[in-house]
């Protein structure tokens, strides 16, 4: 049996498998160790010191406000990118001109520019408005700038793939005015793109560090900023417990994004069916 196995799969297969597993271990091990450290009583003694949740509890005591702020900013960011991004994606798709292409490029710029540079520009321009600068809305502005292109791209890709212009013309020919068309045809058919974009925006906003680190004040710290803070000033176990909390928040979102992508691919695979025997139409006049 073993001989049969080795003859079917040569040594090359096993070598590749071993290499792949090695690389995976190399990548996953730090994450596992880091999370383990968060529940270890004393990291320097190792696991033998026992497992505990006290570091996680301490993280919640010290940083629960950052957690709330992060979620709050992420949701606010989602709301703003939905309100701006979806209509903008629609306009950019339907009205193709040099102007809309220019707008598209400009809006995409923040992806390429380092977050630090954007933050610096925001500070230079609006740093003087004290109340604004000290509020979480200041961080929100940075997050919206950074995440908007992702929402735009996701929605535009879907709208382009379904030929939204012709669908709208179809709806118009049946008597639907602009708003009716927008809510009954455009939005429902852009749903998958809006959902994908939303997951992306929330994930990016929760994990954003560069911009936020520059923009935050001691009273407006988000989760990743708090993470940096705890690494710098707390016991290693606390920082690790913090990582654990972060993972628990972000992993379900990443899984959801993957699931969305899979759904999308499956939807694309469906093709028009084979011609079935069509019964003769117009055979008689129904009254």
């Amino acid at each position: 049996m073993l001989r049969g196995g080795t003859s079917r799969r040569g040594w090359g297969f096993w070598a590749q498998l071993a290499f792949t597993l090695l690389v995976c271990t190399f990548l996953i091990l730090p994450a596992v160790l880091s999370m383990l450290a968060g529940v270890t009583a004393n990291f320097f003694q190792g696991l033998s010191s026992g497992l505990t949740l006290k570091w996680v509890v301490q993280v919640f005591e010290l940083y629960s406000d950052t957690l709330l702020l992060t979620l709050g900013i992420a949701l606010a960011c989602l709301l703003v990118t939905l309100l701006i991004g979806v209509p903008a994606a629609y306009v950019l798709t339907v009205r193709q001109s040099w102007l809309t292409r220019l707008v598209e490029e400009v809006v995409t710029l923040p992806v390429a520019i380092p977050g630090l540079a954007i933050a610096l520009a925001l500070l230079l321009t609006y740093g003087g408005f004290g109340d604004f600068r000290q509020s979480w809305a200041f961080i929100l502005v940075g997050h919206v700038l950074y995440t908007l292109p992702f929402m735009l791209r996701a929605v535009m890709a879907v709208l382009a793939s379904i030929d939204i212009r012709t669908l709208e013309e179809g709806a118009a020919s049946l008597g639907a005015g602009f708003w009716t068309r927008f809510f009954t045809v455009v939005l429902p058919n852009a749903k998958s793109g809006i959902l994908a974009g939303s997951l992306m925006v929330v994930t990016l906003s929760i994990g954003e560090f560069n911009l936020t680190w520059m923009l935050h004040t001691p009273l407006t710290k988000t989760l990743p900023v708090g993470l940096a803070d705890s690494y710098a000033s707390m016991r290693l176990e606390v920082g690790s417990a913090y990582t654990l909390v972060f993972f628990v928040m972000i992993v379900p979102l990443l899984v959801a994004i993957q699931a969305m992508a899979r759904l999308e691919r499956r939807a694309k695979r469906t093709r028009p069916l084979r011609e079935e025997a069509l019964p003769q139409a117009v055979a008689e006049t129904p009254r």
Binding site: I162, D163, T166, L167, E169, G170, A171, A172, S173, L174, G175, A176, G177, T180, T184, V185, P188, N189, K191, A267, T270, P272, L273, R274, E275, E276, L278, P279, Q280, A281, V282, A283, T285, P286
Partner: protein, 353 residues
């Protein structure tokens, strides 16, 4: 299902210049009688789709142009206010709704009561013989089924005018032919004013009460299919519709002198007494094959294509260009064989100068 009225439609001085300055349509006057099926026919870029979109209200004509539905001017009404039914080349069915949802969309937009809506959707689905598809998703339909749903959706709102933009182009040949027959029967039965755009001449011939042949933004000819086929107004129409042979030669004693012989022309033209270079046209099916001795013209078979019910021959030596004729029956032709042709003078077509 019956439609209340047969709405006559008129375009008056409707031209279209696009933003980049290209002239898609020269100012056009066109009247369509109530209940008439008018086909706009031409190669791509001839302005047929632009004309349809102006009729639909998807494009505005250049200033000065007017669109009239009956007595009412609708030039400045957008498509959603014109009560037209439109079938798109890509069908434009809504993927987020099932078949019944698509067909009922126009009725929902018009805020018809639920019960009335259901009744009318069921009625149209039955008419198109797609009742059993009512709850299918659009991506679960074949091309032919989609075509029917698109037609049902357009008819459900009882439009004043039905506009069809190459509705059969996306289908394969056999299905296209079948649906063509169905659409023809449907349009006749409903008595609805219909404007049908196509680049397929057989579709145009089969469906149109009248055909508008278009070329580079202009109308080349308007007329019933037979007139377009047998009396083309100009070279473009002659060459675009069907196969046409050109004979160019010297006119002498009422006969056209060609490399393959001398062809008698009809009395009126012969009597003109005019001599000199002239040209006449004829359709492949107008020529009869006969023995060389009895023939007006003689040529040699360059190639013969057996089509089942007839044989299509390409002949050398008859005229300066090759000539295509059709021979019915079982006779076999060899390449290089000499064949004689006679053509009834009344089957010869002369283009106006």
């Amino acid at each position: 299902m019956s439609l209340s009225t047969s709405m006559p439609v008129r375009l008056a001085g409707c031209g279209k210049t696009f933003a980049d300055g290209t002239r898609a349509l020269e100012p056009l006057d066109l009247g369509i009688a109530g209940g008439e099926t008018l086909v706009l026919l031409g190669p791509s870029g001839c302005g047929k789709t632009t004309t349809l979109r102006i009729l639909a209200g998807l494009e505005a004509p250049d200033p000065g142009g007017r669109v009239l539905f009956g007595e009412a001017e609708v030039t400045h009404l957008p498509i959603e206010k014109r009560n037209v039914g439109m079938v798109f080349q890509s069908y434009a069915l809504f993927p987020n709704m099932d078949v019944a949802g698509n067909v009922g969309y126009g009725l929902r937009v018009r805020r018809l009561p639920e019960a009335e809506r259901r009744r009318r959707v069921a009625e149209v689905l039955e008419m198109m013989a797609i009742s059993e598809l009512a709850h299918r998703r659009i991506d679960q339909l074949s091309g032919g089924q989609r075509q029917r749903v698109a037609l049902a959706r357009a008819l459900a709102v009882r439009p004043q005018v039905l506009l069809l933009d190459e509705p059969l182009t996306a289908l394969d040949a056999a299905l296209r032919e079948r649906l063509r027959v169905e659409i023809d029967a449907l349009l006749r039965r409903l008595g609805i004013t219909a404007i049908y755009v196509t680049h397929d001449q057989s579709e145009a011939m089969a469906l149109g009460d009248r055909i508008v042949v278009m070329d580079r933004g202009r109308v080349a000819q308007v007329g019933p299919p037979r007139e377009i086929y047998f009396r083309p107004a100009n070279r473009f129409v002659a060459e675009f519709i069907g196969t046409m042979n050109l004979l160019r030669g010297e006119l002498r004693d009422g006969r056209l002198v060609l490399p393959g012989g001398a062809l008698p022309l009809a009395g009126s033209e012969a009597a003109d007494g005019a001599a000199g270079e002239t040209e006449v046209l004829f359709r492949p099916e107008a020529a009869r094959i006969c023995a060389s001795e009895a023939a007006a013209l003689v040529g040699r078979v360059r190639s013969a294509q057996f089509l089942g019910d007839r044989t299509r021959l390409v002949l050398d030596g008859v005229a300066r260009r090759t000539v295509i004729v059709e021979a019915p029956g079982r006779r076999e032709f060899r390449d290089g064989e000499a064949v004689g042709l006679t053509i009834d003078p009344t089957d010869l077509i002369r283009l106006p100068d």
